[in-house]
Amino acid sequence: MSVATASRVIEFREALREAMSEEMRNDKRVFLLGEEVAQYDGAYKVSKGMLEEFGPRRIIDTPISESGFSGMAIGAAMRGLRPIVEFMSWSFSLVAADPILNNAAKMLYMSGGQFGCPIVFRGNDGAGGQLASTHSWCVESLYANVPGLKMAIPYDPYDAKGLLKTAIQDDNPVFFLESERLLSTTGHVPEEEYTIPFGKALIRREGRDCTIISFGRPLHFCEEAAAELAKEGIDCEIIDGRTIRPLDIDTMVQSVQKTNACVVVDQSWSFASVGSEIASQIHSICFDELDNFVHRVHSDDVPTPYAQNLEQAYLPNARKICEAVRAATYNA
């Protein structure tokens, strides 16, 4: 099963919870820790009811100290447990940069293979809506730069469950980037267990004129843009990369070989970003198939504005994506 076809419809946050609960039932080593995950049912109600089912030894409320509880979880992972660390927001993970980047991502390498770090860091990434510049971080480009970690970004409830289960089962540190704006969205999710493999992109929409590559929430803007562009006769193919590391460049290249045009939509800033990396790889792998250079849509190169209208203008949105596709296909 690669896309949602089940009859049951649940919220994105419920899909995340189901993934964690299933894995905790299957594997006693798995536990969840983070700010307000237990008594308060999670700041965003993702872990609702989990304290009741699994008890306070496996659903652990932590102090407001990302550096501390991340480091603690990494130690637990090195000693054989499989922690899930919830960051209320990935913006707060910045204070834990040393443990998550310097320890988790490098532990297997630095210990000469003696200690792995099977851990999942998960939480809200990207603009949540008027959270202003310090709490609206998109960390994908920043963190994907580091070798040794994996990074997944779910697009809908179906992927949220399937990818999170894969993340928990993975023996490496996985950075799992959710979106506050998607938590209440609903979708078809099977009740049975399933996983979605890392490194396999999914074509969300088939088209012949231009390939649009994105991850997570901006894919919804891509779909809006594709519907708008279809009225103009521009037929877009949308690829959901699903994971940034590993990156399924093969599927992306195959699509570009068909369309000869490509737009990468990445909600982080453009400089030294996931978008620039994908563009660079496409340029080097299928240069001769391109009708134009790979165009990119990012958040604007400024701190995230607080004002609602400015925030909307700052983020990748359907209007910007339409403009980029028109330019990439010489329809501007």
């Binding site: 000869n260 240069f287 198939e289 391109l290 009708d291 134009n292 010489y330």
Partner: protein, 427 residues
């Protein structure tokens, strides 16, 4: 002095040639008469000799590469200086040839180089190569005049429109290989791994078939006229002759009789030995009958037309020998241009496969082609009575610019008289 060696025109219809093999390397000294390369044309593989003495400076075209006639394929330095090699600068600077014929090909090269420097998107460049579109003829619609995919595809579409009326016999041509390819094709989605479509690039032979037959079907106003022939007398005589001549190794085929009949009928119907010349009709002196020969799959498939020259003056026996020799050679080692050029009429015979009736596409510059079916035993009316006899159906495809319907009927009438009274073929 630098001498540019260009792709020569080795046959009338040759437009492109492929360097199969270079016999020389850069730096080799060559003298007049030396073989430089093997060149594959639309019809045969031929050796390219040098007419000059000198040293090979560059091999511009790689082995396996196909270029247009007139394209520079190699350069030589003439007159090797006594002191050794000419300095490189001098070689480069003196690349402007004196002879006007060479000059024209040099200017083509120069203009090509200019286009290579202009703005072209990578995929547009690749598509132009595939569809054999000279980028110099394309106006770019992208920023700063960049030639983009759309510009090339529009040209391909225009070509497709003009070939839309083209014969369906070409519809399976692989897209992008031949400019006459009817429509872009895409592979079908396989439902099982062993069902995957396979792309086979066109052989030289198939390219020339595609190009020439589309041209024929598009430009020649074809029409067909069919007639049936009573084959009993001819088959009877053939059996007698073959029996009597068996000891001398002669085995006449029905086709040998046909070649002779067609040739004799051409002598008395000269329009059938003529070509349309735009503002004139060219009546040929010699009567050269072509026979279509299928090339076996292991030799690349396709078909060639072998020429029986002066067929109207040849006996059945010599037609038979010549036709056997040429068919065998065509199927095994291939024919030389001489053995397949200059036809004035063509016979395509599928009778040996049991085909009853078909129509053929005229082989330009011929004005007619005869499509021959099998002699089939069937109920016939002879002298007002129902009898069993052998009948053969043959269909002429004709160029209406040269031959009108009544003339076609006259020709078939002559042919019928000859076929049904075969004794006259012996003299």
């Amino acid at each position: 002095m630098t001498i540019e060696i260009t792709m020569p025109r080795l046959s009338d219809t040759m437009e492109v040639g492929t360097i199969l093999h270079w016999h020389v390397d850069v730096g080799d000294e060559v003298s007049s008469g030396d073989i430089l390369a093997d060149i594959e044309t639309d019809k045969a593989t031929m050796e390219l000799q040098t007419f000059d003495d000198g040293k090979v400076v560059s091999l511009v075209v790689n082995e396996g590469e196909q270029v247009n006639v007139g394209t520079t394929i190699a350069t030589l330095t003439g007159d090797i200086p006594a002191g050794g090699e000419a300095p490189l600068e001098e070689l480069v600077q003196t690349s402007v040839p004196e002879n006007s014929e060479v000059k024209s090909s040099a200017s083509v090269t120069a203009s090509k180089t200019e286009h290579l420097g202009s703005r072209v998107s990578p995929v547009a460049r690749r598509l132009a190569e595939e569809h054999r579109i000279d980028l110099g003829t394309v106006t770019g619609s992208g920023p700063s005049g960049r030639i983009i995919k759309r510009d090339i595809l529009q040209l391909v579409d225009t070509k497709t429109e003009t070939t839309a009326a083209a014969t369906t016999t070409q519809s399976s041509v692989v897209a992008g290989q031949v400019s006459t390819a009817a429509q872009p094709i895409k592979p079908l989605a396989p439902t099982a791994p062993w069902q995957e479509d396979k792309v086979v690039p066109l052989s030289n032979m198939r390219q020339i078939i595609a190009t020439r037959l589309v041209e024929s079907k598009q430009t020649i106003p074809h029409y067909q006229v069919t007639m049936s022939f009573d084959m009993d007398p001819l088959l009877e005589m053939r059996a007698t002759l073959n029996e009597q001549l068996a000891s001398s190794g002669v085995k006449l085929s029905v086709n040998d009789f046909l070649v002779r009949c067609c040739a004799l009928a051409m002598s008395s119907n000269p329009e059938f030995n003529a070509s349309f010349g735009g503002d004139c009709i060219l009546y040929h002196g010699p009567v050269n009958v072509g026979i279509a020969v299928a090339v076996p799959e292991e030799r690349g498939g396709g078909l060639v037309v072998a020429t029986i020259r002066n067929a109207d003056t040849k006996s059945l026996r010599s037609i038979s020998q010549e036709s056997q020799y040429l068919s065998n050679k065509a199927r095994t080692s291939g024919l030389s241009p001489d053995e397949m050029g200059d036809t004035t009429f063509t016979i395509s015979n599928l009778g040996m496969f049991g085909v009853e009736h078909f129509t053929a596409i005229i082989n330009p510059p011929n004005s007619a082609i005869l499509a021959v079916g099998a002699a089939i035993e069937k109920p016939v009316i002879r002298n007002g009575e129902l009898a069993v006899g052998n009948e053969m159906s043959a269909t002429l495809s004709l160029d209406h610019r040269v031959i009108d319907g009544a003339m076609a009927a006259m020709y078939l009438k002559t042919l019928k008289e000859l076929m049904e009274n075969p004794a006259s073929l012996l003299v």
